[in-house]
């Protein structure tokens, strides 16, 4: 674990964080350790957000840093053998919500575990999910949300998938910020995941 990497990310020192991550990688630090540090830093960022110290800019910048570090680290990671490569997952932050940190971590974790991830980005309208599902025929759909307004958007999205006749062809997982089991039930999704690890194990379970 690199306390310094965690701190530079948490303190929004973008250039330092990226340089340090490269340095760590070059000096033989296991990629998984670097990613763990990213997650630890994200926890701090999330906590500061909750405490009203950090706002949208910090969430976005932290997401950017983790994205950049992930790109560096990814080629050095061994792809897990457990999952058949190529199972498709469509992921996005639902309509009205612009938060992407949680989603980005989920995308990353799915990606390094061998899934073919289609990231629709943030503030994704239900129809965009439907269109993508029809296009790529994924096994799993992940709906991310941070704000409470995402509850309604998740419900709308699941309903739109159902209305498009695609509900039976996909498993839908929800997660992020204020989302919990109750929201999963309200939105009529299949499962709720508390973190990116759960997202991976859910997806693996559905693609066996």
């Amino acid at each position: 674990m690199s306390e310094k990497l965690i701190n530079t990310i948490a303190e929004m020192q973008e250039e330092e964080a990226l340089a340090l991550a490269k340095e760590l990688l070059a000096s033989g630090t296991p990629p998984s350790t670097i990613l763990d540090d990213c997650r630890s830093a994200m926890e701090i960022v999330g906590k500061r957000f909750e405490e009203g110290q950090y706002f949208i800019a910090e969430l976005i910048l932290a997401g950017e840093m983790v994205k950049a570090i992930s790109t560096e680290v990814k080629p050095h990671l061994k792809i897990s053998q457990a999952t058949q490569k190529g199972s498709k997952v469509v992921v996005g932050t639902v309509k009205g919500d612009i938060h992407d940190i949680g989603k980005d971590i989920v995308v990353f974790m799915l990606d390094v575990n061998g899934f073919e991830v289609y990231d629709l980005g943030i503030d994704v309208p239900p129809q965009t999910f439907v269109d993508k599902i029809k296009e790529v025929k994924p096994v799993v759909v992940g709906l991310s949300g941070f704000l409470t307004l995402s509850f309604e958007s998740m419900k709308e999205t699941v309903a739109a998938i159902k209305a498009a006749g695609q509900r039976d062809s996909v498993k839908i997982m929800v997660g992020g910020g204020t989302v919990d089991e109750r929201v999963c039930e309200y939105a009529e999704a299949d499962a709720f995941g508390i973190d990116a690890m759960t997202a991976v194990s859910l997806a693996k379970g559905w693609t066996k």
């Binding site: 929004m12 973008e14 009203g52 110290q53 706002f55 949208i56 800019a57 910048l61 950017e64 612009i98």
Partner: protein, 422 residues
């Protein structure tokens, strides 16, 4: 006092017009009018009320104006909102341009869905330098081609600084088909826009004759919002605060005189002193107080001071919540600003800033959708008693009430007249 008041029905339109203007002006100056004034942000409500579609507001001006007239006559607030682009605009003109920054009813969204602004990164971070060097050149050669499919050809023009050598060297470029087609598009929309504007002018004239003053004609934006709304998008500008803070500030410096001129020009040419400034990204939750102080407030404050210096009244709309940043409003001169609030706690705001600025708001738009007549009357009464105490208050809704129930809107405006007498 109430029993001496002559009922509105017995006054001429001219009298009513003068009284309505005075009422709003008195409240703005922190004086006590004869009664609490009201304005409505009707947006799409007239379409619903008169039974036309939102789409018709973009394609059939006569129907749209008739719907607005009916709304004003039937509900009789003191003032009403200007018909802003976005709520209604010449759809044919936007079609011709291939305008991408709006989805409007029937175009990208359903015929009865309210318009949506399409935020995007229309200026990339690395283009700040171009913008700062020559904003107009950037807007004509990069921004317009990006935001209007049919103006793509403008991107082929050489740097406009070349015009210093005269227009003749430039002119052969107009023969290039993409450039010619961009100019053709602009030529095509000219009469559409002119006709639309003339129609609006007629509408306002008619409303004046009927005794209804419009709240404002002039509109401006906080420089930060101008950049995030039209150029960089939320994500872009949030990263800019960390990655290129100096350029973000320099761009605001560059825009401030333009935003000021935009505000003052229209207000002076129409004689209506109020300048509407809808605020977007400076609210609680969008940025920290240090960020607000460093990136947002200085330029917004200066814009408002410039407007006040010109003898006009800035009318900021504090969308979202401003509970954490009300104190800043004390930095503006007393009785010169009409501050409209959305979800800020106005009972507290009255204590904190009620002595320096007129406060507008008080009716949650959601209540006009979901409430009962009794609830609406109750909320109106309470708002008038607390926020209206001693004057300096204008009743309006927290935001536009597109889907408000007519009987609730009626109850609300009537209750304001009933309980609002000082």
């Amino acid at each position: 006092m109430a029993n001496k008041v002559i009922p509105d029905e017995k006054k001429t339109a001219e009298q009513l017009y003068a009284e309505r203007v005075k009422r709003v002006e008195d409240a703005t100056a922190l004086n006590m009018p004869d009664r609490v004034p009201s304005f409505i942000c009707q947006e799409g409500f007239p379409a619903r009320y008169a039974g036309i579609t939102y789409e018709e507001a973009f394609y059939d001006q006569d129907k749209w104006f008739a719907a607005n007239e009916k709304t004003m006559v039937d509900f009789a607030p003191d003032m009403y909102f200007a018909l802003m682009a976005g709520v209604s605009a010449p759809g044919k003109s936007w079609e011709r341009l291939g305008y991408l920054q709006h989805k409007w009813p029937g175009h990208g969204i359903g015929p009865d869905t309210a318009f949506q602004f399409v935020e995007g990164e229309y200026m990339k971070a690395e283009e700040y330098d171009h913008f700062l060097d020559d904003p107009t050149d950037f807007l004509i050669r990069v921004y317009l081609p990006r935001t209007n499919t049919e103006l793509a050809g403008l991107g082929m023009l050489p740097p406009l600084k070349g015009l210093i050598m005269g227009a003749s060297g430039f002119s052969p470029l107009l023969l290039a088909p993409p450039v010619a087609s961009a100019f053709a598009a602009l030529n095509d929309i000219a009469p559409i826009q002119a006709k639309w504007s003339a129609g609006e002018a007629e509408f306002y004239k008619k409303m004046t004759k009927l005794g209804f003053p419009v709240l404002f004609y002039s509109l401006s934006l906080a420089p930060f919002d101008m950049i995030t709304d039209f150029l960089r998008g939320l994500r872009g500008i949030m990263l800019d605060m960390y990655r290129c803070p100096d350029k973000l500030k320099a761009a605001q410096d560059k825009l401030l005189p333009f935003m000021t001129a935009m505000a003052i020009g229209r207000a002076e040419s129409t004689g209506n002193p109020r300048v509407f400034i809808p605020l977007h990204r400076g609210a609680d939750g969008f940025m920290s107080l240090p960020q607000f102080e460093e990136f947002y407030w200085p330029w917004l404050k200066q814009l408002m001071l410039n407007i006040i210096d010109a003898g006009l009244i800035p009318m900021p709309f504090y969308e979202g919540r401003y509970d954490q940043r009300l104190e800043y409003l004390r930095e503006l001169p007393k009785g010169k600003v009409l501050s409209w609030f959305d979800r800020t706690d106005l009972f507290k705001a009255k204590d904190i800033i009620g002595d320096v600025t007129c406060i507008a708001g008080g009716m949650p738009a959601s209540l006009l959708h979901t409430g009962t007549v009794e609830e609406v009357r109750q909320v109106t009464k309470q708002a008038i008693e607390v926020i209206g105490k001693g004057g300096g208050y204008i009743m309006t809704s927290s935001t536009s009430f597109n889907d408000g129930k007519p009987e609730l809107v009626k109850a609300w405006i009537d209750a304001t007249k009933e309980f609002g007498v000082y």
